[in-house]
Symmetry: C2
Subunit: 403 residues, 2 copies
């Protein structure tokens, strides 16, 4: 029931739209911006001047158009100067990156994360990485935000990690803990009072693939992220589906096998008990092995003709298609993306996944669906965390940089 | 990547916001509109004058405020004058209504629909109802649109009913067929070239309960509609989730029981095979009985102590909770509404539904969820169809009435 915006709101909206365009599409000529944003040349000129004065974009070096006359000026995001810190806590890894406006990873650090370690044992190393990265930042650069992706259920209001079943975390105030570990210099530099934003890894991977990966221009997307557990980042009608508290997308706990194996969540027969890392490794008769290496070992063995590995791939692929069919009936997506270890399972079992999808999903719901692997690969979580960190800047570019 | 709106777009947006407010909330004082829309008094005055001149609202008869001074003028939707035709094709019923702006049913007709009849056999009687209703319309009234709710999968682009499994329909061009049966006088009067809009019954019930029923002010809603089959109307982040082609929400074909009973869709173990009308009647040992009467007979028998009816209610209630738990994990809704025959099943089996929800859904996903019956009862489909028919008017009030 929102009424129309004021003149000032329109200007902010236009500044955001222009900055978002070059953030997502890179160098763009003024002529292209005029078309893309539906604004006249003088408005584009004025908006560009404002953004350039704030140090968010630069103009110049027009690309050759191949036609006579002056080449059109090109507007570029200041990717080297304007940046966010993006962090990721995965089951087996900790990652931190400095990501420039435009989604470019400028610098990064990675470390193994021993399973079973507490939240505090992730916070320390990540804060250390950010401090390292920060020492190498050129003078005059501007930090506009910071966010972390985590394999857990994140309360939207304050970033509390309510439950990370695969990591054994309960009610971890991850955002504040990271902000405290980073110290005032780094958090004040964020230019906002929210410290470090926190997002679910599947949600942020979906955001990244939607912004600049395998689901660009798709309005209805299901991104499946698998490791020990399975979650989904869902985009419907171009917008993220996160639910009332922010906990939506827990598709790994959709029960597909009543009376099936016990799940870490306390229920039985959840989808992740049939398609998670443990299910594949167990089905291949390889108890004891863990992690992505173990998943890849099963895939390799199946490739080489190992019959129990092949059976495991078929079985897990069938269950994968089973749950995908349910989600296709529910969401009627254009694109389903298989991320994390599900990428490897999908590539090995694509025919089984498709076959089960065809037998279980309604023809109208599945007729245009494309099954895809992530275009951004393992960087999706970091790129997605950076997208989250950039959101405030893109919503109101001048306020975010001068506040 | 939309840039900010023009002055004219803002005026249309404001006109739409004001009209939508009185459409949803009824008579509203200028003072309340000023607050609700965040616009100043003179803008509200000008917008009201424009809408009144177009015959969409009237002003006057200020309510007593209990304070000294002039009572504030009250703006009312012209519910008697501005109306839409709303139709509904349910498994066992055909319904048609004339619905005034503000969501008021002014007049209606109902007929039984024999099961197994073709689309054409619904179109004729419905068109007849509309013609009857139209003869009683007072002079000077304005028809602004028309829409039909149907138990089937509706292609968003053109309203084609791709599949109505419970009705045996395949690829029925319902919108054009209704427009043709209504004839040029009625369809030209709609003031638009889209003829009769078509929506899925669950989607439209969700829209209605969200607009003026059990889910007002809830941004995340799952509305379950059951008869022979089961569908959901889903609202996430305040917006309908309909998927790429418009077919989303087919939760009745979420497989919950692998290898279970064959479903009308060709798959096995779909949720609707465990919670649809046939499942309940069969579980109670009453094969042969059909329709809502049959469902109510089982509920009554259970109430009176019939042990096989009680067993059926427990069993179907458990499966109902089972699927609801899956949807709660996926959508983290504030409100789940049980409509159609699922209303009766839910009321009889609420404890079993809740118990299964508690054991299968993640605590964070279910902690704030409310399980509800429809506030609009059996009128939800008609009210929802009317909401669909009013959408164009509310998006651009003056264009829709003068076009």
């Amino acid at each position: 029931m929102r009424a129309g915006p004021s003149q000032d709101e329109i200007r902010r909206q236009n500044l955001g739209a222009l900055l978002r365009h070059v953030h997502l599409h890179g160098a763009t000529s003024r002529a292209e911006l005029t078309t893309a944003l539906g604004l006249n040349r003088s408005t584009i000129g004025a908006l560009t001047a404002d953004l350039a004065a704030a140090g968010l974009v630069s103009e110049g070096g027009g690309r050759e158009t191949g036609r006579a006359g002056r080449p059109s000026l090109v507007v570029r995001p200041e990717s080297q100067r304007v940046y966010a810190y993006a962090l990721s806590i995965e089951v087996d890894q900790l990652r931190a990156a400095r990501v420039g406006l435009g989604g470019r990873i400028l610098d990064q650090r990675t470390a193994d994360r021993p399973r079973g370690t507490l939240a505090a044992e992730s916070v320390g190393p990540l804060a250390g990485f950010v401090k390292e990265l920060h020492q190498a930042v050129p003078a005059g650069s501007v930090l506009v935000g910071s966010a972390v992706a985590v394999c857990g259920m994140v309360r939207r209001d304050d970033g509390m990690v309510r439950l990370g079943p695969t990591m054994g975390w309960v009610d971890e105030p991850l955002g504040p803990a990271l902000a405290e570990a980073l110290g005032p210099t780094l958090t004040e530099a964020f230019g906002n009072d929210r410290g470090v934003l926190v997002g679910n890894v599947s949600d942020l991977c979906a955001l990244a693939e939607h912004a600049r990966g395998a689901a660009v221009a798709c309005d209805n997307v299901v991104y499946l992220y698998g490791d020990v557990g399975v979650g989904a980042g869902i985009i419907a009608g171009g917008r993220r589906v996160t639910g009332h508290g922010g906990y939506g997308g827990e598709v790994g706990h959709m029960v597909v096998h009543p009376g099936g194996r016990p799940c870490l969540c306390g229920s039985r027969g959840c989808w992740e008990t049939e398609i998670g890392e443990h299910a594949l490794v167990r089905a291949a008769g390889r108890t004891g092995a863990v992690g992505r290496e173990a998943v890849l070992a099963v895939v390799d063995a199946a490739d080489r003709g190992d019959s129990s590995a092949q059976l495991a791939i078929r079985q897990v692929g069938d269950w994968l298609g089973f749950g995908v069919a349910n989600l296709v009936n529910i969401f009627n997506p254009e694109t389903v993306i298989f991320g994390g270890t599900l990428r490897d399972v999908y590539l090995a079992a694509a025919a089984h996944v498709r076959s089960r999808l065809n037998s279980n999903a309604l023809p109208a719901c599945r007729e245009h669906v494309r099954l895809r692997t992530p275009k951004l690969g393992d960087d999706a979580a970091l790129i997605g965390a950076a997208e989250l960190a950039f959101e405030r800047l893109l919503a109101d570019p001048l306020d975010a940089t001068t506040g």
